[in-house]
């Protein structure tokens, strides 16, 4: 079947299988930032925005995205890089494999929360796992980016 979506601001029609997940559709169409780290909605690596809200694309059927506006990190490179620079300057990038999904959640948080507390930040980002950094460096970078140091 076919779904019609807006992908990073451009209209697209994707041919999909009934049981296909959005992460697979997006990867197949060249959005290689999309990674599946767990297949069980635990790790947050596959995070994209649907109508501006962070969603786990590995557990969303592609059909559910029909008619919706999808944003991947490929579509917000400028903002992503702004936060990525802070992350990298603090050495908190490490292997980088979880970063695109993490950054999509951080950018969504920036759009959603004003002056969040540390607890608010941790709550918002809990669904994004990272095995390298131990989270402290990520938290330092996020607080700097959110202007709540």
């Amino acid at each position: 079947m076919q779904i019609n979506v807006s992908i990073n601001g451009k209209k697209a029609a994707y041919e999909i299988d009934n049981n296909e997940f959005l992460a697979d559709t997006l990867r197949r169409h060249g959005m290689l930032s999309i990674r599946k780290g767990c297949n069980t909605s635990n790790c947050g690596l596959c995070t994209v925005w649907i109508d501006g809200k962070p969603v786990l694309s590995c557990s969303l059927l592609a059909i559910k995205a029909d008619g919706k506006s999808i944003t991947t990190i490929e579509g917000v490179q400028h903002q992503a890089e702004e936060f990525a620079r802070i992350l990298v300057e603090g050495g908190a990038d490490q292997c980088g494999f979880c970063s695109p999904g993490f950054i999509m959640t951080v950018l969504a948080m920036k759009n959603e929360l004003k002056n969040p507390s540390e607890e608010d930040i941790i709550h918002y980002l809990t669904g994004n796992l990272c095995r390298c950094t131990g989270y402290m460096g990520q938290l330092r970078a996020v607080k700097k980016y959110m202007g709540v140091e």
Binding site: A84, V88, D93, Q94, T126, Y135
Partner: protein
């Protein structure tokens, strides 16, 4: 120093964080066959019949391979220097399957859907055997995991395969019986460390194709490209020079990718079909069919005099290597080699161990590599000993630990070149507030806060075994290319090596291009494991850079027509001493390739160390325990490290923080476990919990620098030592709060509760 020691951002940082296609799967081609593996549902069985005819008829299926279709050479998947100290006990596919998840058939198809459909059509009949699952019952069990005749070891490791024993160790110095007799206090305890999963975010994956010359190219997420190349050559019976292994960006390894879990399957398919092939393990497969930390039982007996000097330590280890022996004989050695040298007032030491097969997911490398297991057992025993002596646990350590210039019974022929461990302990105590908090503070009727501590050491590379090479070239434009075979798994080792080259050559980071790792291009390197990147490869980089610097000076002097000793290297130029004459590096570079010189300049060096200098960490935990339920929170963790000279302050800090959090996961909840039939139950992040950011309250770190005379700029390693302290420090804090020693990791609230109510 201008660049070493600074918080230089990782050279690949922006690309990897913003989603650029630089990892293995991103580099595969659209026409690549997709490989899926049919896995054994049984922990131990023999395939009595396997029918793939229906699967092969599915449109889009390229090939289905079984044990009948693969070469018959046994090999090991352990990425270790040849000849590997791991048994050659594997076939690519075997008629006998030895754990639930062991490979039964390889399916290659045009896409994943087709491969999975074909998998369902394979008919397998098994003769199911009784598995041996309890490693304490493995020796002498009627179940023999490896009965085959063609299994072979490169060394005599003490293998007795009829008894399921993979290896034995026995090291002994001094007269134990006599020393124990003379001790005022003796403590004896048995500790258990569980299997844990490395859980790097990028699961195992490999992609292969044939190049223009018909050679096999494998792009894979590995820590050990050169070892993978050799392994493929042995397993596939293919000449080594027909194989090229390329390591792109890697999504974490932590030791998991020191075992080649997937590379052989696409390689075999590509050879059979001539077509590109890709395998990507899903998370369940990576949990089930890669490796785990070796679960161990470690008995420690320790004696001291009444002043608190530790006179004798006796350790007996039993290690569970699962269905195959990867890293089995070596991990267990670190139980002793990374604990006994710390306490060098001993008059007698002994270490005995057996490594045994069971029908479970194989053991493998995981950050810490046996030192983690040994540290839990030995440090916990020392905490018990301190209590029995009525000594502060920090005091007993300060009294007994090795100092600079001293040796130990374990390393009687090696003097310790550097240590700031005493300072690490002092600083850590201050940071956690030890003197006011030890051992506990009662907050209310049921709430208690308490602190605990542990110290640890690791090594820096494998002494007398591993050797790395590096080449630095001066390019025609005056910039440098650094070629190394070391594998940056996300740690930032490429950046660190570039910093070292830039420091020696007095160049900017932008002037150094790093190329790693490609077995066709890179000089040999065993890979990134055993905490070797900064120290071993780093020394090769420094030496190669120094050689190039000498050549640049010589060439500059020649072009200036003065003796080399009358010139100096100034980073951007070579200058004549005390004169206003110089020649720029760029001009030297141009002339080396374009002018009359006809001699492009490069430096090449190899380095292997006769010693493995230990980095140290002192770790301090503070817990708050609910005495009614046993539930506890780790409210603070302080870790102070000595890794010699810090090459990159940011990256060292994140290594320390990240390693501590992995150690916290191991201490508190991570636990690989199986059902009664040997089927893995913790096969997703639903069941196998790694720390989330909500679980980690506070980790605070600091460094106390020492100067390691044998290391690059005085540096030692940092990568592994960081994981070792949390299990014993948290166990100690929980004990101080509750009076319960949890001797089986992980320290769950249930165990604390049961202990309090025993």
């Amino acid at each position: 120093m201008k660049i070493v020691g600074k918080a230089i951002p990782k050279i690949d940082g922006l690309a990897i964080t913003t989603g650029k296609p630089v990892y293995t799967e991103d580099l595969s081609t659209k026409d690549a066959l997709v490989i899926k593996i049919l896995r054994s549902p049984h922990a131990f069985a023999k395939i009595t019949s396997i029918d793939v005819s229906k699967a092969q008829q599915v449109e889009g299926v390229e090939c289905v391979l079984t044990y009948k279709d693969v070469p018959d050479a046994r090999f090991t998947l352990a990425g270790q220097s040849y000849p590997e100290p791991s048994p050659y006990d594997r076939l690519i596919l075997d008629q006998i399957v030895r754990y639930a998840g062991d490979e039964v058939a390889i399916i290659a198809a045009v896409d994943e859907k087709t491969a999975l459909l074909a998998m369902k059509l394979i008919k397998v009949e098994y003769e199911v055997f009784e598995p041996v699952l309890d490693f304490e019952k493995s020796i002498g069990s009627s179940t023999v995991v490896h009965p085959e005749d063609d299994l072979h070891c490169n060394f005599d490791m003490g293998m007795e395969k009829g008894k399921n024993i993979v290896a034995r160790q026995h090291i002994e110095y001094g007269n134990l019986e006599e020393e124990f007799k003379n001790c005022d206090v003796v403590v004896e305890e048995t500790w258990y460390t569980q299997a844990t999963a490395q859980s790097m975010m990028e699961t195992h994956r490999s992609f292969s194709y044939l190049d223009h010359a018909g050679r096999l190219v494998v792009i894979c997420s590995t820590q050990v490209p050169f070892h993978v190349k050799r392994m493929l050559s042995i397993a596939l019976k293919l000449p080594s020079n027909k194989i090229r292994v390329i390591k792109p960006r890697i999504g974490g390894g932590f030791g998991a990718k020191q075992t080649a879990c997937t590379e052989i399957f696409p390689a075999l398919v590509t050879i059979k079909t001539g077509k590109p092939a890709l395998i990507v393990q899903d998370r369940t497969e990576t949990f089930m069919a890669s490796t785990t930390r070796h679960a161990m039982r470690v008995k420690v007996k320790m004696g001291a005099d009444k002043e608190g000097f530790i006179k004798v330590i006796d350790i007996h280890g039993l290690s569970d290597t699962g269905a195959y022996g990867e890293h089995g004989s070596t991990t267990v050695g670190l139980v002793a080699s990374k604990t006994l040298p710390l306490y060098n007032k001993t008059k007698a030491i002994r270490f005995m161990a057996e490594v045994v097969y069971t029908n479970k997911t194989p053991g493998g490398a995981f950050r810490g590599y046996g030192a983690t297991q040994g540290t839990f057992a030995v440090e916990s025993t020392i905490n018990k000993l301190a209590e029995k002596l009525s000594m502060d646990p920090s005091e007993i350590r300060l009294k007994n630990i090795i100092k600079e210039g001293e040796n130990s019974l374990y390393h009687y022929d090696q003097m310790l070149g550097s240590t700031a461990l005493h300072k690490c302990i002092d600083t850590g105590k201050k940071m956690i507030g030890w003197d006011s908090k030890y051992p506990r503070t009662v907050l209310g009727k049921n709430k208690v806060r308490a602190v605990g501590m542990a110290i640890t050491m690791q090594g820096s590379g494998i002494e007398k075994v591993d050797m790395a090479s590096a080449e630095v070239r001066l390019n025609d434009d005056g910039n440098y290319t650094l070629l190394i075979g070391s594998t940056d798994n996300g740690t930032g080792s490429d950046t660190i090596h570039a910093q070292m080259a830039a420091e020696v050559l007095e160049a900017g980071m932008d002037n150094i291009t790093v190329l790693s790792a490609d077995t066709d291009v890179s000089p040999f390197d065993p890979g990134s494991y055993a905490s070797s990147g900064t120290y071993v490869t780093g020394m090769a980089v420094v030496k190669a850079s120094e050689e190039l610097k000498r050549k640049i000076v010589d060439s500059g002097a020649k072009l200036l027509d003065v003796p080399a000793e009358n010139t100096e290297f100034c980073g951007d130029s070579v200058k004549v001493l005390n004169k206003d004459r110089s020649i720029s590096i760029r001009t030297i570079a141009e002339k080396s390739v374009l002018g009359g010189m006809k001699n492009q300049l490069s430096g090449f060096a190899s380095y292997g160390s006769p010693v493995s200098p230990p980095p140290f960490v002192a770790g301090f935990a503070e817990v708050e325990v609910d005495l009614e339920t046993g539930k506890y929170d780790l409210i603070d963790y302080v870790a102070v490290a000595d890794c010699g000279t810090i090459i990159n302050s940011n990256l060292a800090r994140i290594q320390l923080e990240g390693g501590i959090v992995q150690g916290i996961g191991m201490a508190m909840y991570e636990d690989v476990h199986y059902d009664y039939k040997g089927r893995l139950q913790t096969n997703s992040f639903m069941q196998y919990k790694i720390p989330s950011r909500r679980d980690v309250k506070q980790v605070r770190t600091a460094f106390e620098e020492s100067y390691e005379p044998t290391g690059p700029f005085g540096a030692k390693s940092i990568g592994e030592v960081v994981i070792n302290t949390p299990p014993p420090a948290i166990a100690h804090a929980v004990y101080n709060a509750t009076g319960v020693w949890v001797s089986h990791l992980p320290i769950t609230p249930e165990k604390v509760f049961m202990g309090m109510n025993r």
